[in-house]
Symmetry: C2
C-alpha cells in the first residue's frame, strides 16, 4: 500500500466536523476509512455515537496472548475558511514541491494514514504477525472529542486489554528531527464573576462612592502574579516537579530560540518563570493565564457607567505532579481572600485535565515502562527514527493538553507513544495545509518497524 | 394657561429621538410646541438642523434694553421599552394619585412646560412686562444634543445678548425640598488599547513565555488607585478645590445617607475619598472610573488563548478647578509609564467637559454674580421656593455633567440657573414615568415669580 495513493483518495472527503451540513461527508469519510482498514487487513466497524461515528479496525481481536497496540487518530478536519486563500481547492489533494496540499493532509489524516499503510505493508510481508491491533479513528476531535469518553467507557473491557496507545497528532520541529512527546501540561479553568452594585449605575451620579467591579477585577487579577512573573498564589508551585537535566538538554536541541519565539509572536520581550527560557517555560512551567476579561460597556465610544458586573476567565496550565483539584482550590481561595468589601465574587470551575508524563526508556531503566510492548515500541521508535531521519528523536514535553491521551489513561489505564508527524510549516488549521511526502514515507517505515518490534517483543 | 391641560396635549406625541422611525412624531412635537409658545405670547420658529429641529420662541427680541433670559428644554423623550411594564400607555397621559403618568412627563416636557405656562400666565397679568425671553427647546438631548453646539454657534450673536440660561432638567430630592444646582462635575474620557502578541496565541503552546495583555491591563488599571481609594496618578488632585463648609452643610440637608445609598445600590460598603461621605464624594470629589474593560474570549465556556489585545474605557469626573486637558495628560502619562516590556499601549482621547460652578448670592456677595438679572433670578428663586415649598432651596453640586450648560458657557458666555423640577420617584428613563401635578403647579408659580423679579430688576 502506498501513502501517496491512499491520501489521493482519503483527502477528497470534506469531513468538516464543525459544519452541520457536512453530515453526509462525515459518513462518507467513515465509510472510506472502514474500507481502507479492511484493505489493510483489519476488520472494520463503524460505531455510531451521539455525534459522529468512530471507525474501529481490529486485527487478531480474539488473541489475548499477543501484544495489543491501540492506534488513535481522527478523520474529521478543520473548516477551510478563508477558502479564497487556498492555492488549490482544499479537498482536491495536489502534489507540488514534494508536498501534498489538502485540508487534513497534516491534521490528522496524513499521520494516521501512515500507521494504516505501515500496518498493511507489514502484514503483506508477515501475514502471521503476532500482534493484536485496534485502530480507533474518531470524527469529532476538531470540535472537542465530545463522544469519545463515552465510547471509551462503552468499550472499556476491550480497550483496557491494550498495552498502550500510539498516535501521531503532535508536531515535530523539523523534517530531520522527530519529536516524541513524553509529557503534556494539564489544565484547570475557572471563571470568576465579580458583582458590585445591583445594576449599572450612572458614573456621574454614583461615581466616587461605589467600588467599581472592574477595579476589583483589575486589582485581584493583578495580584495573582508577583513582579518577577511568578504566580502569587500560596502553594501554587508546591507540587511542581522541575525538569530533569536531560530534559533541558533535549529541549535545547529544538531550533526555537527566545529570539525566534519573540519574532514569531511579534513581541519585543518574553516573560518567563525565572531561570527558564521561553521554550522551557512553555513546556516545563505551570502558568496562570487570563483567557478573557470583560465587564461594562464594550461598544464604540463611551458610556459613563459604574458597571454592575465583570468576569475573568482564567486557566492554569499544570505540570507534573500538580493536580487540577488542588490548584483550583488554591487559586479560588486566593481570589476569594482578596475580594474587597462592596464586591461579591462567584467562582465556577471549568474544564480540567491532569498533566501527563512518561519517562522514555533511554533516559531511565526500561523497567519503569508499564509493559514490555510499550518499552519495545519506544526503543524501536528511537532506533528507526535515528536511522530514517539522521537524528535520534527529541523527547519533549508539550505545553498543551491532549484530552484523549488523558481519557485513555483515566478510563483504560493506558499510556501513549506520541510520534510527531506534521511540521511547523504544515499550516494545520490554516489555508494551504500540507505535508511533505518523503517525510510521511519515512513515517510509514518508522511505524512499520515499530509494529514489527512490538510483535516480536511479545506479551509481557 | 393650565399646566395640567397643556401636558394632557403635549405628552401625546411619541417624539423618541433614538427611534429612526419617529421622525414624523418629532416634527409633530416641534409643531405643537411652536403653537404652545405662540399661545404663551412668544413668536415661534422651528429651526431645522442636521438632526431634529430646535424650537425657538422669542418675546421682545428687538429690545436690547431689557433683561434677557434664555429658557432651555428638550422636547424629545427616551424610548418606552419595556413597554409591557407600563400600567397605562406611555403616550396616553393619565392622571392618578395626584400624578400624571406619561413618557416625558418628568424628562423634560413637564418641567419646561412649567416655564412656558408660567410665562404665559405672567404675560396675561402684565402684558407690558419689561423682559426679553428666548425659549430654546431642542429635540436631541436624549441622544447627545448633537446638533446643539452648531445651533449655538449659528445664533451666537443673538444668544450672547442673554443674561443667563434658566433650565429645569435636574432632580430635586423631595416634593418639599427643591434643589438649585450650582455645580456640575466635568468629565474627560480615554480609551486604552493594550497590544501583546500579534495574534491570539494558544495558551498551551505559548502560555508562560508571553506577557498577557489582560495581565498588563489588570496591573495597570489596578495601579491607578491606592489602597485608600485615592487616584494614584501624580498631580491628580492638584487643582481640586475642596467644598466650602456651607456646601457640606447644604448637602447634609439631603435625605440621602450612606445607609440609604448603600441600600439603593445593593452594596454592603461604600468606597469614597477619605473624609467624604457618599453624597459628598459623588458631588465634591473627582474620580477615575472604569466604564468598560474587555479582551480575549467573551463567550460561554472557555477558550485557552493568550489574547492579542485588550482595552479599558476610563472616564475621570472632574471638580473645580480641574481641567480635562490637564487630567488627560496626567492619566495618560501615568499609564504609559507603567506599560511593561512586551506590551504596547495606545491611548485615545474621548469625550470631555469642564466642571461647572457658580456661587449663589446668598452664600457670597451678590456682586460675584455676572449680572443683575441673574442675581435677581437667584434671589427670586430662593424666596419663592422657600414660600411655596416650605423650605429654602438646597444649593447642590451634581455629580454628573450637563453638556449644554457647558456649551452655553463656552459659546455664549452664559451661566445657568438650574431648578430641579422632577423627583427621585419620577422614574425618568423607566416605565411609568410620572410627575406630581401639585409639585408642577408650585413650579409654575415659582417660574412666574422669578420671571417677574428679573423683569423688575431691569438690565444691569
Amino acid at each position: 500500500m502506498d501513502i501517496k495513493s491512499v491520501l489521493s483518495e482519503y483527502l477528497r472527503f470534506p469531513g468538516i466536523s464543525a459544519d452541520p451540513s457536512a453530515k453526509q461527508a462525515i459518513a462518507d469519510t467513515a465509510k472510506f476509512l472502514a474500507g481502507l482498514l479492511s484493505r489493510a487487513g483489519a476488520t472494520p466497524q463503524i460505531v455510531e455515537t451521539a455525534g459522529n461515528p468512530i471507525v474501529v479496525g481490529r486485527f487478531n481481536a480474539e488473541r489475548s496472548d499477543l501484544p495489543h497496540v491501540i492506534i488513535y487518530g481522527h478523520y474529521d478536519v478543520q473548516p477551510v475558511d478563508p477558502v479564497e486563500l487556498w492555492e488549490t481547492p482544499p479537498f482536491e489533494p495536489t502534489f507540488r514541491d514534494g508536498k501534498i496540499f489538502a485540508r487534513g493532509s497534516a491534521d490528522n489524516r496524513g499521520p494516521h494514514a501512515v500507521a494504516i499503510v505501515a500496518f498493511a505493508n507489514l502484514l503483506a510481508r508477515r501475514p502471521d504477525l503476532p500482534i493484536r491491533a485496534t485502530f480507533v479513528i474518531e470524527g469529532e476531535e476538531e470540535i472537542g472529542s465530545g463522544s469519545f469518553p463515552q465510547f471509551l467507557r462503552d468499550n472499556k473491557a476491550e480497550l483496557s486489554t491494550g498495552d498502550f496507545v500510539m498516535l501521531s497528532d503532535t508536531e515535530s520541529p523539523a523534517r530531520d528531527l522527530i519529536a516524541i512527546t513524553i509529557g503534556l501540561r494539564g489544565v484547570v479553568g475557572l471563571e470568576v464573576e465579580f458583582e458590585g452594585p445591583n445594576c449599572d449605575l450612572h458614573s456621574g451620579i454614583f461615581g466616587g462612592a461605589i467600588y467599581n467591579p472592574l477595579q476589583a477585577l483589575a486589582e485581584i487579577c493583578a495580584s495573582l502574579h508577583k513582579p518577577d512573573g511568578t504566580v502569587n498564589v500560596p502553594g501554587f508551585y508546591d507540587d511542581m516537579t522541575p525538569p530533569a537535566g536531560w530534559e533541558r538538554n533535549e529541549l535545547a536541541r529544538l531550533p526555537q530560540t527566545d529570539e525566534s519565539l519573540k519574532k514569531f509572536c511579534g513581541t519585543d520581550a518574553l516573560h518567563c518563570l525565572p531561570g527558564y527560557s521561553g521554550t522551557e517555560a512553555t513546556r516545563f512551567a505551570p502558568t496562570l493565564e487570563f483567557n478573557g476579561i470583560g465587564g461594562g460597556y464594550q461598544g464604540a465610544g463611551s458610556k459613563t457607567i459604574v458597571p454592575a458586573k465583570a468576569f475573568a476567565k482564567i486557566t492554569c496550565r499544570l505540570v507534573p505532579a500538580m493536580s487540577p483539584d488542588d490548584i483550583f482550590q488554591k487559586v479560588s481561595a486566593a481570589i476569594l481572600a482578596r475580594v474587597p468589601a462592596g464586591i461579591r465574587a462567584k467562582i465556577t470551575r471549568m474544564q480540567e485535565c491532569p498533566p501527563y508524563y512518561i519517562c522514555p526508556p533511554n533516559h531511565a531503566d526500561a523497567a519503569t515502562m508499564p509493559n514490555r510492548a510499550l518499552a519495545a515500541a519506544f526503543s524501536a521508535a528511537h532506533e528507526i527514527i535515528a536511522a530514517q531521519f539522521g537524528n535520534p528523536p527529541v523527547y519533549t514535553r508539550d505545553g498543551g493538553s491532549i484530552g484523549i491521551v488523558e481519557e485513555f489513561r483515566k478510563v483504560c489505564g493506558l499510556n501513549s507513544l506520541m510520534l510527531g508527524f506534521f511540521l511547523p510549516e504544515s499550516k494545520i488549521h490554516s489555508p494551504n495545509e500540507n505535508i511533505d511526502v518523503a517525510f510521511l514515507e519515512k513515517g510509514v517505515k518508522t511505524y512499520e518497524a515499530v509494529f514489527e518490534k512490538i510483535a516480536d517483543a511479545g506479551k509481557a
